[in-house]
Symmetry: C3
Subunit: 255 residues, 3 copies
């Protein structure tokens, strides 16, 4: 199972990410046996990404200093064949985010874009009422738009929500399961994006590895929710579930 | 009850805050059903605050980049009639903080100032030995000084501590209860300030909404403390208590 | 016991640190009764460090703005006789980190360097394959190199790992115990460095205070691990253990 493979391979994931979820992302990667490294300055990101197995670019608390680092790290990763994951947090909330995402997509070849449907709408210019970094309200044909986006940027697109949709522009599928408590704590989507980096780099068939990742991340959510109804406990329960799944595999899924 | 109202209204709270407590603040707002968005760069804060129901300005890990963003966001919020909450973390600890707070108070009309007594002393120029971001030592007539401060800046002033004092310059009251464990974990005051933003925007009588907020935040502290004597558990126990109070109201207060 | 002494003395620890672990560090210091203050801007660090009992410099998410603040704060601390602790996170991972650490060591007299063996290798120019901020792979004679480093910079050097080594360049010792779960969550080393600042400033015999700190930090790890096998719970279990040790001393060590 992919989480067990990650634990065997222990990939180093370079995260240029936001300060709201950095601790949770680091612990989530560690829970799977991956190694996180957070470094966001242009003086060092090219060197840091060169020793990593994957790069995560998350625009959650963006500024011009980190934007420059994202561009440098992403281009370097492309040169070295290191997969780059984009998490366009709140892409539709401001022009600055939208333009930055456009610039990133123009200059960097991403392996995966992991977003919610509001962010998808921003990326494909569908009218949408984004609510900060939440998905917000509007109507979008996820299958069509995600597929077009995947084709345009030649990458895998993952749109998470109650059900997750994933496509590489040719094949596609829905992943069901999970628990709505995941939306009641911050960073569960951000962590998933980081884990997608670990999963992408752990094997020879990234598409299957990512499908499995989405499936078992939802399973981890179910395990966490079965453990507690209290929202404060969920972050930790999710880390525990990821840890168990990566150590014991499916056996730990029996509730 | 105000926490239930927040859950119904789901206000978006734009936080320009410090990186020490950002995760806890985000999860605390989510625990009440509010939506947090952290964005601190001048390129986007005016646009972000425009879609928010309240703005929190917290100077905990201040620098010139975020200071500029605070000023831009605060002025924009004033233009749009969006309430702005000030959390002058460690205002008395350095000249830089004191001057920044003075500048913020001069340029922005705040709806609420939420501080501890050491920070109050800094705001009203009472001699005080501030200890970093803790309240520190000294003597201050909280009632008199908070009332004068509220009158000078035409806003509500909340001074939290063992007992909380709140005034709008005319009426005032003390709120008792709570638990001293709250001072043994970081960010409980910062989270309260963020929640004040959510509460202020959720109804037509901000003063009453804030009194209720202080009352039930202390109740949440009691619920959390009843759950555990261990300090590591308190952050999570507080999130759980806030979550329950916002879902089940007073019924969840029976210990 | 040193944690009890820290609780009595309540030292203020000024941390210039990374945003990944800032919350955990703050709560860890609070769990021992110390007071954390995070401030990283050159406008205020000299003033902030002047009211602190110790300064922590942690380069985990370094940039030029915080680098300047580190230099200013460190020099000011030296002038005032306030002990400075260096945590050279991932020192060997990039040239930027290595050069910054060299500059810090040249301009500031540190009281303690707390590192892992990969970071030690970077500081003494031993060939090493650093893996991000993890210790990585290579061979190094810890005793010899740490002793030389301590002599060169006239400070205490602590190299943590499965066993911890500590030396002031003359005397030295190994500290055993602990639990490998500590390496599966982020920030346990960073927190230890912050606690070393609190311990150093709490008494007249820093060397002994630090030996005791390492001993009881490992004891706290054992207590935490005895409480849970789940990695998500460990951060909190460690905070709980530190809290108990600082309140009840050795009595709380009986498993």
């Amino acid at each position: 199972m992919i989480f067990q493979t990650i634990r065997q391979q222990q990939p180093l994931i370079h995260c240029i990410t936001n300060y709201v979820v950095a601790n949770f992302q680091a612990n989530g990667l560690l829970a799977l046996g991956a190694s996180p490294v957070m470094a966001d300055d242009s003086h060092e990101v090219e060197e840091m990404v060169a020793i990593a197995e994957a790069l995560l670019i998350n625009i959650g608390t963006l500024n011009d200093r980190t934007k420059e680092a994202m561009l440098l790290a992403g281009k370097k990763a492309n040169t070295l064949g290191i997969p780059v994951i984009l998490d366009p947090v709140g892409a539709g909330a401001t022009v600055y985010r939208k333009e930055t995402v456009h610039l990133l997509l123009t200059d960097i070849q991403f392996a995966v874009i992991r977003c919610n449907k509001g962010e998808l709408a921003a990326l494909v210019n569908v009218e949408w009422q984004q609510k900060g970094v939440d998905s917000g309200d509007g109507f979008i044909d996820i299958e069509t738009e995600a597929t077009l986006l995947a084709q345009r940027y030649n990458c895998i697109v993952i749109v998470t929500g109650e059900h997750d949709f994933m496509t590489d522009g040719v094949q596609s599928q829905w992943i069901t399961g999970g628990n709505s408590q995941m939306t009641e704590v911050t960073g569960t989507g951000c962590l998933l994006s980081a884990i997608c980096g670990a999963a992408y780099s752990s094997g020879e068939d990234p598409y299957s590895q990512l499908v499995e990742t989405l499936t078992y991340y939802k399973k981890a959510a179910e395990l966490a929710s079965a453990f507690t109804e209290d929202i404060g406990d969920i972050q930790i329960a999710l880390l525990n579930a990821l840890h168990r799944l990566s150590k014991e595999g499916e056996a730990s899924c029996i509730l």
